[in-house]
C-alpha cells in the first residue's frame, strides 16, 4: 500500500514548522466540514469512556437509589394490596432524585475538570454536544434504573409487567433527561448548581413526572387508564427534544 504523503513537519527547515502538503490539503478540504454523526460519536464515546474509567456517576447513583428504596421500605409499612398503587410513586421518586444527580454531573464534571472550554473551542455542532450529553445521561440513568428495579422487586415483592414498565421507564426517563440536560447546561455556570438545577427543572418536568407515574401504574395492574398518560409523556419527549436541541446553542454561547 502506498504511503500517504502526509508530513506534518519539515525537519530539514525547522522541525516544528508545519508544511503544506498538497495531498493533505486536498484531504483537509474534503473533510473541512466535520460530520455531525462523527462529532456525536466522538463526544458520546468520550463521555462513556470517561465514566467507565472514573466509575463516578453510575456507581454513586446505584448506591444512592438503593438507599432511597431502603428508606421507603422502612418508612412505609405497605400491605400487598396497597403496593401496586404506591409502587409507581416510589419508583419515580427514586429515579428522579438519582436522575437529578446524574444530570448535575453531565456538565459540572466538564467544568470541574477544565475540559468544557476545550469542547467549545472546537468547531463542534452545539447540537452534537447536546445530544451526546443527553444520550450519555440517558444511558447512565437507564443503567441505574435497571438495578433499582431489580432491587425494588426483591424489597417489595410485587409483580409487574416488565415490557410495559420498560416502555414507560424509557419514555419517562427520556423526557426527564431531555429537559434536564438543557437545564443542566444552564445551571452549570452557577455557583449553587446542585440547588439551581432541580429548582429550574422540576416545574418544567412536572408533566413528564406525573405522566410517567400514572403510566407506570399500567405495569403494576393498578389502572387501565395509563395509555393517555403514556401518550402525554411521548408528546413531551418529542416537543422538548426539538426545543432543547434548537435552543442549546443559544444557552451555551450566551
Amino acid at each position: 500500500m502506498a504511503e500517504a504523503p502526509f508530513v506534518i513537519l519539515n525537519e530539514a527547515k525547522n522541525p516544528y514548522r508545519a508544511v503544506t502538503d498538497s495531498s493533505l490539503d486536498a484531504q483537509n478540504d474534503k473533510e473541512a466540514q466535520p460530520r455531525f454523526l462523527t462529532q456525536l460519536g466522538a463526544l458520546l464515546w468520550k463521555d462513556l469512556a470517561t465514566e467507565w474509567r472514573r466509575r463516578e456517576v453510575v456507581l454513586s447513583l446505584v448506591v444512592f437509589s438503593l438507599l432511597v428504596l431502603l428508606v421507603f421500605d422502612f418508612a412505609f409499612d405497605l400491605r400487598q394490596a396497597e403496593l401496586p398503587a404506591a409502587a409507581p410513586g416510589i419508583l419515580w421518586v427514586t429515579f428522579i432524585f438519582a436522575g437529578v444527580l446524574s444530570l448535575t454531573r453531565a456538565f459540572a464534571g466538564e467544568k470541574d475538570r477544565g475540559t468544557w472550554e476545550g469542547l467549545l473551542l472546537a468547531p463542534v455542532d452545539r447540537g452534537a454536544i447536546y445530544l451526546a450529553k443527553l444520550l450519555a445521561s440517558l444511558l447512565f440513568m437507564l443503567a441505574v434504573e435497571a438495578v433499582t428495579l431489580a432491587v425494588f422487586g426483591a424489597f417489595f415483592d410485587v409483580p409487574f409487567d416488565v415490557p410495559r414498565l420498560a416502555v414507560v421507564v424509557l419514555a419517562g426517563t427520556l423526557g426527564f433527561a431531555t429537559v434536564g440536560t438543557l437545564f443542566a447546561a444552564m445551571s452549570a455556570n452557577t455557583r449553587a448548581r446542585e440547588i439551581f438545577l432541580p429548582v429550574l427543572l422540576f416545574p418544567v418536568a412536572v408533566p413528564v413526572i406525573i405522566g410517567s407515574v400514572k403510566a407506570t401504574a399500567l405495569a403494576f395492574g393498578a389502572t387501565q387508564d395509563g395509555y393517555p398518560w403514556l401518550g402525554l409523556v411521548v408528546a413531551f419527549d418529542a416537543i422538548f427534544l426539538a426545543v432543547s436541541f434548537a435552543v442549546f446553542e443559544f444557552v451555551i454561547e450566551e
Binding site: A4, F6, V7, I8, L9, N14, P15, Y16, R17, A18, V19, L24, Q27, N28, K30, E31, A32, Q33, P34, R35, T38, Q39, G41, A42, L43, W45, K46, A49, T50, R53, R54, R113, G114, T115, E117, G118, L119, L120, L121, A122, P123, V124, E253
Partner: protein, 207 residues
C-alpha cells in the same frame, strides 16, 4: 490576519480591556506582556471566541469573531492556562478525540508525527492524569496544533515546561508558518522568540 477595534471588556464594573486596538499580520509572532490583571488573558479569550467583548469588533482570518465564531474556530488553536485535557483518556485517545471533532483526515499519521516531534511517543498509551504538568502542557500544545490552525493563541505557554519542553515551544513559536499571539510574564524569553512585543497595562496597550 487579526484586527481588533475598540475592544472593551468589563466584568461587572471592573474594566479588563479599554477600547483596545490590535493588528497582527499573517505569519507574525506577537508577545503580550503585562502584570497580573493587565488584560492579557481576557484579550486572548476574546480572540479565541471563548468570551464576547462588551464593545468592539474582532476580525480574524477574514471572519467576524462575533458573528462567525463557528467558522473561525476551525482556524484557531488555543493553549490556555488550563490544558483542557481529559485526565481519564490516554494521550493518543485525547488527540484522536479532538481530531474527530475537527473532522481531520490522515489522523493516525498526524497524531504519530506530533507525538514524535513533541517527545511524547512513549507516553501515547498513558493516561493524561499520569503525566507531569510539563508533559501535559506539551500534549496541550500538540492538541492545539493538530488541525494546523492559521492562528495560534497561547496564554503563558511556558508554564510548567522543562528545558526540553521550552525548546519545543520556542521552535513552534519561531516557525513563522502561522500567526501567533502569546502572553508571558517572562520579558526576556518573550522578546527572544517574538517578532514584536506589546505591553498591556490596565486593559490598554502601552506605546
Amino acid at each position: 490576519m487579526i484586527s481588533a477595534r475598540g475592544l472593551t471588556k468589563t466584568f461587572g464594573r471592573v474594566p479588563a480591556l479599554r477600547a483596545l486596538d490590535l493588528d497582527v499580520t499573517a505569519g507574525e509572532t506577537v508577545a503580550l506582556l503585562g502584570g497580573n490583571g493587565a488584560g492579557k488573558t481576557t484579550l486572548l479569550r476574546i480572540l479565541a471566541t471563548l468570551d464576547k467583548p462588551t464593545a468592539g469588533q474582532v476580525r480574524i482570518a477574514g471572519l467576524d469573531a462575533l458573528r462567525q465564531p463557528q467558522q473561525l474556530r476551525a482556524q484557531l488553536g488555543l493553549v490556555a492556562h488550563q490544558t483542557y485535557l481529559h485526565p481519564e483518556l490516554t494521550v493518543s485517545e485525547e488527540l484522536r478525540f479532538y481530531g474527530r471533532l475537527y473532522g481531520l483526515a490522515a489522523l493516525d499519521r498526524r497524531i504519530a508525527a506530533l507525538l514524535d516531534q513533541f517527545g511524547l511517543a512513549a507516553r501515547a498509551p498513558l493516561r493524561v492524569a499520569t503525566l507531569s504538568r510539563g508533559q501535559q502542557q506539551r500534549v496541550a500544545i500538540a492538541r492545539a496544533l493538530l488541525h494546523q490552525p492559521a492562528v495560534l493563541l497561547l496564554d503563558e505557554p511556558d508554564t510548567g515546561l522543562d528545558a526540553e519542553g521550552l525548546a519545543v515551544l520556542e521552535r513552534v513559536l519561531r516557525a513563522g508558518d502561522r500567526t501567533v499571539v502569546f502572553s508571558s510574564h517572562n520579558r526576556a524569553w518573550a522578546t527572544s522568540v517574538a517578532g514584536r512585543v506589546l505591553s498591556l497595562a490596565g486593559g490598554r496597550l502601552e506605546a
